[in-house]
Symmetry: C2
Subunit: 167 residues, 2 copies
């Protein structure tokens, strides 16, 4: 039996430390929480014996049937060669299928299987449980506010990035 959590947990020695002169940066604040929440994500992934990137990949496929590997790579922000191995893995596990696109024989059209969908649902359920525990002190309305804000932040970032790209 391996360790359940990917990192040694911060043991809060002497309470929370000052995290330094970068503490007022949004990206630092965000990451600080993300690191903790992601522990849960990794723990579940490990318990279910999958790479966490596999989940992200399958999630995209389930939500966008017919998506190509190239599009997944762009969406996830990784190299297409990585998607090759992820999709192969998904296929072996019977969670996704790929068939050549009718109109373009280079592309694969990916879709999730029923088993894949079920697996995603189970995964999501576990994560939800962990998040409920971890965010016990935060009111549901606050989480809704957060979700809406994060949504707009994502949009704002994407806009800025795409302008940088062409500019």
């Amino acid at each position: 039996m391996k360790r359940e959590l990917p990192h040694t947990l911060p043991t809060l020695t002497g309470g929370a430390k000052d995290i330094g002169p970068l503490a007022d940066l949004v990206s630092v604040q965000l990451r600080r929480v993300d690191v903790l929440l992601t522990r849960g994500f990794f723990a579940v992934a490990k318990a279910m014996n999958v790479r966490s990137s596999l989940i992200a990949c399958l999630g995209l496929i389930a939500a966008n049937p017919g998506i190509s590997q190239q599009e997944i790579a762009l969406q996830i922000g990784s190299d297409k060669s990585i998607i090759t191995s992820l999709v192969a893995d998904l296929e072996e596990r019977g969670w996704a299928e790929r068939k050549r696109a009718a109109r373009d024989n280079r592309r694969y059209e990916l879709k999730a299987t029923l088993e894949g969908e079920a697996m995603l649902a189970e995964f999501a359920r576990h994560i939800r449980d962990i998040e409920t525990t971890m965010l016990a002190d935060i009111a549901p309305e606050e989480l809704q506010t957060l979700a809406a804000l994060l949504q707009r932040m994502h949009q704002s970032c994407m806009t800025a990035l795409s302008e940088t790209e062409k500019g």
Copy 2:
């Protein structure tokens, strides 16, 4: 000159995709934004020729003079062996110093040099600029609300984790 951004940018093919059945998870929403914001962080780190973890390490040292490598490892959530190489790197660059603790000759007491502090300040300035651009659509009050909420979320996560640990 290498690429400025660590990943190929999502090219928004056909607008934002549905990210799937995990979309309502807080950790997924958070990570989605974090990934984008972190691009800026990595870009600056690369431009200044440092590993981003080096910055995190130096930030902790600057904020907590006399901190030990062990404590840094706990705080960052990585293995102590990694801190060894990070601190060695910081020392070579003249950004931090280590001397043995008077009361405990096993520990190092780390502190940032003036150059280290200056470097951190410059780094923070660059990130702030990027964040300003990326989050142009978000009002300052909203970012303050976010910061406060993230602060409480972090606290809530830490509490939950420490209970899991002893329970």
